[in-house]
């Protein structure tokens, strides 16, 4: 199976089957105690999680099976799809939920029929037997070049996200009431040299909340941080469920023409629904207005994946000229900075530069 994967394509998420894969037996067929965990694969799972690769479950079992696997492996799964539907559909839902493209997903299942179905429906997914998976830790696809602190904690962060989503579903009030209730804290501040690996990583990994879709190298970022015409701002996010660290950034160019341009806006999908991009846009409006700009412009390459970015732009009052979309999908969204600016909630704090 290794030969099917193009060299260098880094896997970001491993979706595991449960029966006869992560467990040495079948969950529902065990009388009394459910079967024990497969120690070799559990070791691989923890090794890969430590490299920032997300771990998920897709199983024909009741949800209790996922809870059981969670407890016996001690792993914080980013997503769990338990049910009797197709595995390909389960993987597609996991991919959408975690914002991971199909070609960055590996699927491990002992059942040949399941593997064949997934390979046929989702040809980009790397399909593995448990025997393949046991050796996967040595393969280049499972060895990201740089493992940032955020990446190492990624599985845990997704676990926190799952618990937060459950609380939000049970809450019932408005989003802002919920954000306040759970102690949301956002810090916007100037990017520092130590942030470069994480900023580069965000430029590569974010899709739903990314305006340009273009990776930015650490070298380019370092130049922008040093440039007098540019501001690179980072956004850190935390609440009572956990600290997500550096989740987003903006690159703002002010060239004295009266238009301040956000050349890049990017935000981890972990921040979706938590007011982070809205806060960043509200802050950008204030910074640009204070510097004397009359307009904020956000060039955005419109794709079918970054609809959430367009929703945030629309909510912050930015509009593009209809019919102005270039051949490459790029449209420039703008708003006037005269009059009322978008609301900046009081849980957002701003660090001064230097």
């Amino acid at each position: 199976m290794t030969s099917d994967a193009p060299p260098g394509q880094i896997i970001k998420c491993v979706v595991w089957d449960i029966d006869n894969t992560l467990l040495n037996g079948v969950y529902l067929e065990s009388a009394g105690e459910p079967p024990p965990v497969d120690p070799e694969l559990a070791g691989v799972l923890h090794e890969l999680a430590g490299r920032g690769i997300l771990q998920a479950l897709a199983s024909r079992n009741p949800p209790e099976a996922a809870a059981y696997v969670r407890s016996v492996t001690g792993a914080d799964f980013a997503a769990a799809e338990c049910g009797w539907g197709s595995k390909a559909e389960a993987i597609a839902r996991i991919a959408a939920d975690l914002d991971v493209p199909a070609d960055a997903i590996a699927f491990v299942d002992d059942d040949m029929v399941e593997r064949a179905e997934v390979a046929a429906e989702l040809p980009d997914v790397l399909v593995l037997t448990p025997e393949d998976a046991a050796e996967a830790a040595d393969w280049p696809q499972f060895s990201p070049a740089v493992v940032t602190a955020e990446a190492r904690r990624r599985g845990q962060l997704y676990g926190e996200r799952r618990r937060r989503q459950e609380a939000a579903q049970a809450f019932g009030g408005s989003r802002d009431e919920f954000l306040r209730q759970v102690g949301t804290r956002i810090i916007i501040g100037p990017a520092r040299t130590g942030d470069l690996p994480r900023l580069h990583e965000l430029s590569v990994r974010t899709h739903q909340l990314n305006s340009s879709g273009q990776p930015v190298t650490e070298g380019e970022l370092a130049q922008l941080i040093g440039s007098a015409q540019h501001q690179v701002a980072t956004l850190r996010l935390a609440d009572d469920f956990g600290d997500d660290g550096l989740v987003g950034a903006a690159i703002l160019a002010q060239n004295g023409t009266g238009i301040a341009t956000a050349q890049l806006l990017m935000m981890s999908c972990r921040a979706l629904g938590r007011g982070a991009l809205d806060a960043l846009l509200a802050w950008l409006c204030r910074v640009a207005a204070r510097a004397g700009a009359a307009q904020l412009a956000v060039p955005c390459v419109v794709t079918d994946r970054n609809v959430p970015m367009r929703l945030a732009l629309a909510a912050a009052g930015l509009r593009a000229e209809p019919g102005s979309v270039a051949a490459d999908g790029r449209a420039v969204f703008t708003r006037s900075l005269a009059g009322g600016l978008p609301h900046l909630p009081d849980w957002v704090s701003v660090e001064a530069s230097q």
């Binding site: 989003r175 979706l272 629904g273 419109v302 945030a312 209809p322």
Partner: protein
């Protein structure tokens, strides 16, 4: 499209809105209330889920057809956008 179907779109949208925001009280939101503004506070996440449900239920891809997503101004504008697409499909 009959008047019943037209009313049906708005009723369906209320149901979807309550679902994607997790707020049953939004079933009773006036059709003219701003979705992005304080009344509903639709954000990127809930907005994406709403558009996904609209595509599933009505077969209308709002994101592909409305660059600025102005159709999300209110339930009434979104219902009008969907009804227009549905009736032009019939013709």
């Amino acid at each position: 499209m009959t008047g019943d179907q037209a009313r049906g779109v708005e009723a369906d949208l209320r149901e979807v809105l309550a679902e994607v925001t997790g707020r049953p009280d939004l079933r009773g939101v006036p059709a003219e209330t701003s979705l992005f503004g304080g009344g509903v506070g639709l954000d990127s996440l809930a907005g994406t889920l709403l558009l996904r449900q609209v595509q599933r239920r009505f077969g209308v891809d709002v994101a592909a057809e409305d660059l600025n997503l102005d159709s999300l101004e209110s339930l009434s504008t979104l219902a009008a956008f969907i009804k227009e697409r549905l009736s032009s499909d019939v013709r």
